[in-house]
């Protein structure tokens, strides 16, 4: 009898699981159908990229993007939409930079494509002329020391490792040259730092990106050079150590400027005090349109909520789309958001960020407790039919990072990484580099995960 009862209970349980599975499968299928057949991500990104364009913190474009995203979320009828004030750094590039090899014995005068790194001081209108010392690492620089570096332009030329399958790993292996190269070079009296662009391939355009000065060092100009011209310069230096380079840049840092995170939410029906965030960053670098970085993440986040609304899906928990301001050169928005969350004791159970471009979905990265991680990984069978099969990597996202210490599971949307560092931080990061289906699939992927977290929680 007991045995029979156990069998019956087990059967009912199995049935229940099977039916839940089927319902989840159906809901996720519906989410993807909505995104692929009637999605608005691409249309939104078209506007944000082509009508607003670049939106570096403190710029008119950033202000326009704030207003635009507020309006869009209001028009979609989210329960509340508001702005969260935050002061942001205000760095400006000024007129276009000049890079010129002035005395190549072989080639005479050769223009090279350079751009200031974000946060860098300019050379001023007179520019600077100096010899060039090429290094591949800070160790090599230290070995050269002051006597070889004083008054020179230090040329950091370690490429991103092309053999890494994950291009973010290759980026991680090279980006310290961009972030810290100038101050390392300043230690030995360098006149300027010139950094090989963080690009996956040989290209003609330079990649900008953030750099920081160490407080104890003087500030010298820091610029990036296109990968192709980095190769050229290196080749010419091998033949002639006496090469002189002219650099002219006009960047400067102004007073901090007022700006905003933009937040839209759908209130939870059962656990309204438990918040799930989907987000991207609204600011971008100034050379392109910030289409992949991170217009894509912004429109995908808005789209998650829009899809729920058009499906008539009422989340149990509160779902927020957050457009963070100032990821690129300060992280002030992400920091401010977490500060306020902490002050308000707002319980954020999970935050998902999309900031790896609008490419075809591959999976999610996870920074969470082992139990939370296992729970997310247990949903793999539901997500795999949509190309989401990689749940193995650690990681959340820059903007949602400050929520981690508050006990939030931080999750990164993981699209295919192969093309990202062809566009990242360049003039090429434009709308025409985005594929509609790839972008909309990303929105649906995030919505599907939010749906599962909302339904089952993470505990």
């Amino acid at each position: 009898m007991k045995y029979i009862l156990a069998v019956v209970v087990l059967s009912l349980l199995t049935l229940q699981i099977a039916s839940a599975q089927t319902q989840d499968e159906q809901t996720i299928r519906q989410i993807f159908n909505k995104a692929l057949a009637e999605g608005k991500s691409y249309e939104m990104l078209d506007y944000l990229s082509n009508k607003i364009g670049q939106r570096l913190s403190g710029s008119p474009g950033a202000a326009a993007a704030v207003e635009w995203s507020r309006h869009v979320m209001q028009d979609y009828g989210f329960d509340s939409v508001w702005l969260q004030p935050v002061m942001v750094p205000h760095w400006v590039r000024g007129q276009k930079e000049i890079g010129r090899i002035v005395n190549s014995k072989k080639m005479g005068t050769v223009d090279v494509n350079v751009c200031s790194l974000g946060g860098s001081v300019g050379t001023g209108p007179d520019g600077l002329v100096a010899g060039v010392v090429e290094v591949k690492s800070f160790e090599e620089l230290a070995q050269l020391g002051t006597k070889n570096v004083q008054g020179k332009i230090v040329f950091f030329n370690r490429p991103m490792d092309p053999t890494q399958i994950n291009t973010f790993a290759a980026y991680g292996g090279a980006v310290n040259q961009r972030g810290a190269g100038a101050s390392e070079a300043a230690k030995y009296g360098a006149a300027a730092a010139l950094v090989r662009s963080m690009g996956s391939n040989l290209e003609d355009y330079p990649h900008t990106g953030g750099m920081r000065y160490a407080p104890e060092q003087g500030k010298i100009p820091a610029l990036a050079i296109s990968t192709r011209h980095a190769e050229l310069l290196s080749k010419l230096l091998k033949e002639d150590k006496g090469i002189q380079l002219y650099l002219e840049s006009h960047s400067e840092t102004l007073e901090d400027a007022p700006s905003f995170n933009v937040i839209g939410e759908i209130k939870g029906s059962e656990y309204k005090d438990e918040i799930i965030v989907v987000g991207g960053h609204l600011d971008s670098w100034d050379l392109g349109q910030g289409a992949h970085d991170d217009g894509a993440g912004c429109v995908q986040s808005i789209e998650v909520l829009r899809i729920f609304k058009t499906m008539g899906y009422k989340p149990k928990r509160t779902i927020r789309a957050v457009m963070y301001m100032n990821e690129e050169n300060g992280l002030r928005g992400g920091t401010k958001y977490a500060e306020i969350a902490q002050k308000q004791k707002a319980k954020h159970i999970a935050a998902i960020e999309s900031d790896r471009g609008g490419f075809a979905p591959r999976g999610f990265t996870i920074s969470a407790t082992p139990a939370e991680r296992s729970k997310i990984q247990s949903w793999k069978p539901l997500l795999e039919p949509y190309g989401l099969s990689d749940f193995s990597q650690e990681g959340g996202g820059a903007d949602i990072g400050p929520l981690g210490p508050l006990g939030t599971a931080t999750i990164g949307f993981l699209p295919d990484s192969q093309r990202y560092f062809s566009y990242h931080h360049t003039s090429e990061d434009t709308f025409d580099k985005v594929d509609k289906r790839e972008l909309e699939l990303g929105s649906a992927s995030m919505a599907a995960l939010v749906y599962l977290i909302d339904k089952y929680g993470l505990k």
Copy 2:
């Protein structure tokens, strides 16, 4: 004692497996390193796309591509390189087509973007003017019957299903309109067939592609219309059934022309009579450069052999790169290759085709015996670190299809499918749509699988 022996044997066996595993891991890592750091696929495709360009069967471009690929493989020092003669259909488009709505009450005269489908007869220089009947299926057409269709242009407007994650499935669900629409329409006395382009998105350019006339029907002109203009035409027809369309096309089929499959091989060191083929098709449609379709597959196939050579890897079996001629409008090359293989009793244990574009690798499709399939699937742990995780789908490839009945396992390289049907058979299938890393990863993926098949066989 027996127990201890068993343990020792088991341990040795485990060690041996572990060491084989490690060696395989190393070799595959080396293959990917070669492709990513020193690969030539992109450079080859640049030449094939930008210097040679379109290469429809029978065209000067096709002849140039034959010579080019022969030279390339000779220059890389493959053991033998030869041409395999084959007669191919010779269809020519003639001067650019005209599509024009001539009497829209709302918009007056409106040009629409159309192109002849491959194999179609032309309208002749006088063109034709007729009313338009829109249908979504052959069933709908049959219901309309002769009285509604006679003398009209039948407009087949069933879109590719955007909710399919696999765009090839969506293509499969729509392409009968292109292939058979004209003869279906001719049954009821239609003047011409106009088919909504096989494109994933709304676009301005039409997609060409093969069509066939049923022998029992008269031949009427068959054209494709861009998806955006298909939407427009459909909208205008809803408002005004009296719309007339002018179509002018100049295509014609000439005498069959001589051409070639191009074959390069590295002789096996142990089982030289067992052949593994990697291939793509050298012909392309005439509107773009055939960069993704299928220049990518050709250069990837050559690259597999080149990687082996530069690694100093001596395959046990004979590895052949085959550039098939005439996949697009006849499959004469693939058919001829299998005919000769059968006649020569050449044992082809496996054939891998790349004909889904040069996009980021996702896996392989497999048409083989259950045992062969299981063996290939057992290698998944070795291939998954490179993004190759989907081994579940049935399928080989068009050109290698005729080898299947001879007992060959036919395998399709499976890249991400999201962007393919934005370029496929259009003016947009150009080199700039190809990402270097994605392309080179495809070559390495194929080389890795060939390495495993070569080393372990498929039995």
